[in-house]
């Protein structure tokens, strides 16, 4: 049974796609039980998902626990541009950034085992960072006015940062423990966007060609028109990395007051990506027949090896919970993620001789730090093992300047409910989360030519379940 569960868990995990659910591209919803309580679980950490929420928690767990968590997300992302170019056909209900299919599965797997009264070990495979946004509403040959207006700022982003984390925990005392997990972090990043924006970099190209195309005319004005003679291009940058990371947790349980205090730190990780950049261009553009050869522009943008670097933030969480009243547990977490580490992604191209791909192209994001407040309650019952409810406030780290198709982000309120039921040595847990992202209007002059200013209206439904199998001593 255990092996089958592990295999199922691994298979689901391998086939998953991820979506950003918490601040920017952080994912905190990695345990169904925790999420029923609004994710306020750092001071509880009494199931195998403690490997993610607080590694110190596994020191208090008996026997062998196998847990598989599955999360399904329906993200409804809408963008209403405030000042698109003349003639743009904006859908009446805005541009959709939802991925297809709408149901995004996110799966995680945890295992814990006590070795002796002092030591416990565990293993987790989980995805604390992920992103999946897709504003690609077009084919390259479509009329330009029907294409997503912000495509030059990005059309598709996909990030999966998977932590494969062996963990050990030590009981410092009867009431306290310390846990440490060391992880290999496998990361895959993909960014797609359109290039040769006639309102932006296309004009730089136009400025260079102005003396040849329109000799004697105002070069700045000429550049604006020449930019419209260019084909439209698409770029895709994709890379992977394997980097180290670690988590540290501390858990203290005050028996008399039935109060727990938990601390958790998950390290920042710098990802050194290796991958490829590829480019393609439409067969349009008045300038094309007059260039030295039909593939002049393609030669300027050769497909090539690429390297890049970015850093995912560290997490600092403090939690407190109390189980003294109403046969319930009330929990609160406060979490900080230092997203200010995510300031830019330098992309280093390998073919820079006689091409238009630079030695380095840096994508700036300049995130700030984010914080989250988690509050939850779990009520233990007789027929149903427990019911839960929770609330989360999540303050976005994304500044207005960086809000766009890659990060259509805003602060958000979430309300969660959940329940668990025992079936022999198995426990099934369900949760639902309604996530309302605050409508966000941006008006950043430097984004005018990217056409990412406007209103972002987002909502997400999250639902998940977990199956936990408990073998051995003191089965709860």
């Amino acid at each position: 049974m255990a092996n089958r569960c592990q295999l199922i868990g691994l298979a689901v995990w391998l086939s998953t796609a991820q979506v950003a659910l918490s601040s920017a591209f952080a994912i905190n919803e990695l345990g169904a039980r925790a999420q029923g309580m609004g994710g306020a679980f750092t001071s509880i950490a009494d199931d195998a998902s403690a490997i993610f929420f607080n590694p110190a928690g596994i020191a208090f767990q008996k026997g062998l626990q196998l847990e598989m968590d599955e999360l399904t997300v329906i993200g409804l992302f809408r963008f209403f541009p405030s000042d698109p170019p003349a003639g743009t056909a904006v859908p009446a209900n805005g541009y959709s950034g939802s991925v297809k299919p709408h149901f995004i599965p996110v799966a995680n797997m945890y295992m814990t085992k006590d070795l002796n009264p002092k030591w416990s070990v565990g293993f987790g495979a989980f995805t604390p960072f992920g992103l999946s946004a897709n504003f690609t509403n077009f084919k390259d040959a479509d009329p330009t006015n029907t294409k997503f207006v912000g495509r030059f700022a990005g059309t598709r982003a996909r990030l999966e940062s998977i932590w494969i984390q062996p963990t050990a925990s030590y009981r410092l005392s009867e009431n306290s423990s310390l846990g440490l997990g060391v992880a290999v972090v496998h990361t895959h990043l993909l960014l797609e966007q359109s290039i040769l924006n006639p309102y932006d970099e296309g004009r730089t190209f136009g400025l260079a060609l102005a003396p040849l195309v329109f000799p004697g005319l105002d070069p700045d004005l000429a550049a604006h028109s020449i930019a419209r003679f260019l084909p439209e291009g698409r770029s895709r940058v994709a890379g992977t990395s394997n980097s180290p990371g670690f988590s540290v947790g501390y858990l203290y349980k005050h028996s008399a007051s039935k109060t727990n205090v938990g601390l958790m730190f998950r390290s920042a990780v710098t990802h050194h990506l290796k991958g490829r950049a590829s480019f393609a261009f439409t067969d349009t553009g008045a300038i094309k027949p007059f260039l030295p050869s039909p593939d002049t522009i393609s030669k300027l943008f050769p497909n090539q090896e690429i390297r890049g670097t970015f850093t995912t933030p560290a997490n600092y969480v403090v939690g407190v919970s109390n189980s003294a009243f109403w046969n319930s547990t009330i929990a609160f977490d406060f979490q900080i993620q230092d997203f200010d580490r995510f300031s830019s992604i330098p992309l280093n191209f390998s073919q820079t001789q006689d091409t238009a791909t630079p030695a380095e192209r840096r994508l700036f994001f300049n995130f700030g730090n984010s914080y989250q407040l988690h509050a939850g309650i779990e009520k233990r019952l007789k027929k149903i093992r427990a019911v839960r409810a929770g609330y989360i406030f999540d303050h976005t780290p994304v500044p207005d300047r960086s809000v766009g198709p890659l990060f259509p982000d805003s602060s958000r309120h979430s309300f969660t409910v959940g329940a668990s039921q025992r079936l022999g040595n198995a426990e099934i847990t369900l949760f639902y989360q309604a996530m309302k992202m605050l409508d966000r209007k941006t008006n950043v002059p430097t984004n005018d030519n990217q056409f990412t200013n406007g209103e972002y209206r987002n909502f997400a439904h999250l639902a998940g379940f977990s199956m936990r199998l408990h073998f051995g001593r003191d089965v709860k």
Binding site: P85, P91, F214, S225, P358
Partner: protein, 406 residues
């Protein structure tokens, strides 16, 4: 190209629908015939092209407007006057097209002598100069230059294809005038375009432009009968000195007949030497013919208006403007311009306006854009244009007192 690459390094990678109705004048493309091209005084040449109403609009809108300027004495023939063989280059011409090296693309795609069907079908073809075909030579020099001299494989676009390739943000369509002008000048209504065929072709043009998501501005077709090329017998007195009833008697004319510029010139010459004879063909247009032409113009304009509505284009009623000019003229500073021959509005050919006329049309269109798109384009200083406009200085010869009594 190397420089272009370097500059690109700086910038690449940076970074039920409702269509946005706002004006972007980045690329202003004009599809037209002689009127929008700036044809005046029997030919297309740089001094008038520079003052064509699209060119004056572009200056006010502060956008580039590369034109295929032709060195004087220009190219092209005009209906109603003898056609001359194409001589390019001729005396005073060097490169013919200016500036040189030429613009790779032009935005004023108007070709003198173009009918609506030509906009869709006629494309440049070698050789560049075709001495028996002025319209084809004009097409080559406007739409096919420099493609025709750059070797094989370069695109030879029709006017409409060219417009599509320019990816305009705003397009102006001034077509149809030549379609009715030639039949009017020849006094032959059978040459007038078939309304259904006209509609089909015009629809193709507007649908294509609509597909480019440009803001499209169309002008209705002026009625040739409102132009200075056609003069009533009473109006002729001012030019030839003889009263209408005398002219009617001498040349067996009906009081409602209209005299063409050629007719006026012939009558003037004959009266000067006191010899009257038969007027050459094309000198007189009967009221019935004029009425037929005007009605067909109305029918064509009705189609233009209807198609414009269907395709989201805005319409400027150029026909009404010409009619008002005919009815009352216009005061510019201390000068009153009229639609009479040598009245200041039209150039010497009688149906293409002079520089001031183009300035007035430009201002009408700018006003329409300002109203439609809440823009604030300043208007052309018509007085300044008038002061340098040859058309304004042309006036009928005045009989000097006492000179004729000798």
């Amino acid at each position: 190209m190397r420089k272009a690459c370097c500059l690109l390094l700086l910038s690449v990678l940076g970074g039920g629908a409702s269509q946005q109705k706002k004006l972007d004048v980045t690329t202003f493309v004009v599809l037209g015939e002689g009127l929008a091209a700036g044809m005046a005084d029997f030919s297309l040449r740089d001094v008038y092209q520079d003052k064509s109403f699209p060119a004056q609009m572009a200056r006010q809108m502060k956008t580039i407007f590369p034109q295929p300027l032709i060195q004087s004495p220009g190219i092209g023939n005009v209906p109603g006057f003898p056609s001359l063989p194409v001589r390019v280059p001729t005396t005073l011409q060097t490169t013919v097209r200016t500036p040189f090296p030429p613009y790779l693309f032009v935005f004023n795609l108007s070709v003198p002598g173009f009918r609506v069907a030509d906009s869709i079908n006629r494309r440049p073809s070698p050789p560049l100069v075709q001495d028996r075909d002025a319209v084809q030579t004009s097409t080559n020099l406007i739409l096919g230059f420099p493609a025709l001299i750059l070797g094989k494989g370069k695109p030879l676009w029709t006017q409409l294809e060219y417009a599509r390739q320019m990816n305009p943000t705003i397009a102006l369509v001034e077509l149809g005038y030549y379609d009715v002008l030639e039949p009017a000048v020849k006094g032959d209504p059978s040459l007038l375009p078939d309304v259904a065929a006209f509609r089909t072709n015009y629809s193709t043009i507007l649908a294509t432009l609509k597909g480019l998501f440009a803001q499209v501005l169309v002008t209705t077709i002026p009625d040739p009968m409102d132009t200075a090329y056609f003069t009533s017998l009473s109006g002729a007195t001012r030019l030839v000195g003889a009263p209408a009833d005398v002219l009617a008697g001498l040349y067996k004319l009906h009081p409602s007949d209209r005299l063409t510029v050629n007719g006026l010139a012939t009558i003037g010459s004959q009266l000067q030497v006191n010899e009257t004879g038969t007027l050459p063909a094309g000198s007189v247009v009967s009221a019935a013919t004029a009425d037929q032409i005007s009605k067909r113009v109305d029918a064509l304009n009705s189609e233009i208006t209807s198609l414009a509505q269907q395709n989201g284009a805005i319409v400027y009623d150029l026909r009404t403007f010409f009619r008002l000019m005919k009815a009352s003229g216009i005061q510019v500073g201390s000068k009153t311009l009229t639609a009479d021959y040598l009245g200041g509005f039209y150039s010497l050919d009688g149906f293409y306006p002079g520089n001031t006329g183009h300035a007035l049309i430009a201002n009408e269109l700018l006003n329409l854009l300002n109203q439609t798109y809440k823009e604030s384009f300043s208007l052309v200083d018509v007085n300044a244009v008038l002061n340098t406009d040859p058309a304004v200085r042309f006036t009928p010869a005045v009989k000097r007192p006492g000179k004729g009594s000798k």
